[in-house]
């Protein structure tokens, strides 16, 4: 070492070697920090264990085929009990479908406006306001859906053609709730489309609208897909809005005008009742919960895979 060539340098080098760079306790702190990270892993395992151990209990009583047979109805809480989960899945798909019909065009329009049209200052002001829509407590949306959307608007407007509890009122509020997720994630994707692409299009005489829809939109498509997947995951996991406004009558209908029940709606119904431990009434909560967990898991992982692919393309 050059440091050790002079006498003073040798002293310094010795001193540095002696100096404890780790204080006692430093290792302990690291272990404590590691434990904090381990809590998150433990949470995942706990969720899986809790859901699947009782779900297995459920499948000892009810066969897999009975559960997934589209011909069976879902009537879990009164005799004769039947557990055809498709009715609940279709209920969930029903509200997902109609809420996306509302949120997808509006969310993408907002993303395009914020990314391609708005001035930086407008964006700084509008984005947090829009994000507030996702921050409204869902019990508030639930009340709005039932009292204002269904009772005050849809029932007088559509009369006898719509049920008091209906999928449409829940879907409208769900659509408003997920608007910022679609807008925000898509806008991030659009903002990271390289400038050269836009400038090349402008140079060829394209208008702002054409640049937005024919250049930026296709270039950001994987980010937009990820946004949609995340929004769907959010909708299928949302409980209060559907439990309050969509009703509790499982049905294989995709109509927005009918009373339905979603998977989460059923789970809340069981939680509110007094089902005894060990009964199928009680374990069905875990079977449906396990299915819901798997669905959101697949959607979230899917979104992450799509996002990663999109990052590779432009960095």
């Amino acid at each position: 070492m050059a440091l050790a060539n002079s006498p003073e340098g040798a002293d310094l080098a010795r001193a540095l070697r002696k100096r404890p760079f780790r204080r006692p306790g430093e290792n302990l702190i690291q272990v404590a920090l590691l434990l904090c990270a381990v809590v998150s892993i433990a949470t995942t395992f706990a969720i899986i264990y809790v859901l699947f151990s009782d779900a297995i209990g459920f499948f000892r009583e009810v066969s897999f085929w009975h559960f997934f047979n589209p011909g069976n109805e879902w009537q879990a809480l009164i005799d004769p009990r039947t557990f055809g989960v498709w009715e609940l899945v279709v209920g969930t798909v029903n509200v997902t479908l109609w809420s996306m019909v509302i949120a997808l065009p509006l969310g993408l329009a907002a993303a395009i406006y914020l990314s391609e049209y708005a001035h930086a200052q407008t964006r700084r002001f509008l984005k947090p306001l829009l994000e507030l829509l996702a921050g409204v407590p869902t019990v508030v949306y639930a009340y709005f859906a039932l009292t204002f959307i269904s009772d005050d608007i849809l029932l007088p407007l559509l009369g006898g053609r719509i049920s008091f509890f209906n999928s449409l009122s829940a879907s409208i509020m769900l659509g408003v709730m997920i608007l910022p997720i679609i807008a925000s994630v898509s806008e991030d994707a659009m903002a990271s489309v390289p400038r050269d692409l836009r400038e090349a299009a402008y140079g060829l005489g394209a208008t702002r609208l054409e640049v937005a829809f024919r250049v930026v939109f296709p270039a950001a498509i994987s980010g937009i897909v990820a946004a949609v997947l995340l929004a769907i995951a959010r909708v299928i996991g949302e409980t209060m809005i559907v439990a309050v406004a969509a009703g509790s009558n499982p049905s294989l209908s995709f109509s927005p005008l009918e009373t339905i029940q979603t998977m989460t709606g059923f789970m809340l119904q069981v939680a509110l009742g007094d089902a005894a431990r060990g009964t199928t009434d009680y374990t069905s909560l875990f079977a449906v919960g396990a299915l819901l967990f798997l669905m959101t898991f697949v959607l979230n992982v899917g979104a992450q895979i799509v996002v990663r692919r999109f990052r590779e393309a432009y960095e």
Partner: protein, 301 residues
Amino acid sequence: MSASESTPEAVGLRAEGRVARRQAWSRASRWILLGATLLGLVVLVVLGIDNAITGIPALDWDFLVSYPSRKAELAGIRPGILGLIWVLALTVILAIPLAVGAAIWMEEFAPRNAILTTVRLNIANLAGVPSIIYGILGLAVFVRLMELGPSILAGALTLALMILPMTVITSVEAISQVPPSIREGSLALGATRWQTVWNHVLPGAMPGILTGTILAVARAAGETAALIVIGAAAFIAADPSLSFAGLLDSFTTLPMQVYSWTLQTKPEFRANAAAGIIVLMIAVIGLNALALVVRDRLRRN
């Protein structure tokens, strides 16, 4: 097209017309897109006004400080407000050290290998788990296994696990935005890694961590489904007691009260729900605004 229209002049005119049309569409699109952007907000504002008209007659001082009652005009949200403050304070105390600890480990100490990637993916997935599933977890682990019952402590533990992933993600982001030069300077002066983190990285990341925490609290404040599943009460006619024994008291929160009034058919109770929503929305909007102010401070520094 006939031959007379293919003279150079006619072609030029048609092209100009096309360009004018395209530009007109482009100009119009700005307003159409702005309208679509604002539509969701307009819906929320209209519903908010509708709600204010329904709720304000029921909203007075007595409503804030009274216990629930079978008579709608006597009922109030006192246990909901106190329960909410109590449970949120406990949630923050439980969740924030864990979240910041995990974030520090991930950013400052973790080896850059598959374990870290697994932890990251795991946290991203946990952030997408529906709140009702956290409720089931809380019911099985805290209420039943640890025998805490549907208590304030069980509620806070459940909410803490629920906001943990979101808080870790924002903390990681805040820590990663502290410039490396600050760490290098501190290490070069002989500080240990932990001294560097404690004295330099954490203070630099604090505004970001704070913003994330406030937003997470705003989310937990409105949570209803998870609390219903762990068995939190809808009506309680007593204040939560400020003691260690009080941690095991049953509790209610403002969203729980709003929910139970929503299910009532009498219009007077609906008015109570609307009044409760006004209070809840003021709290949530206040928290979001606070988060924005903190974030702006961060930008200015």
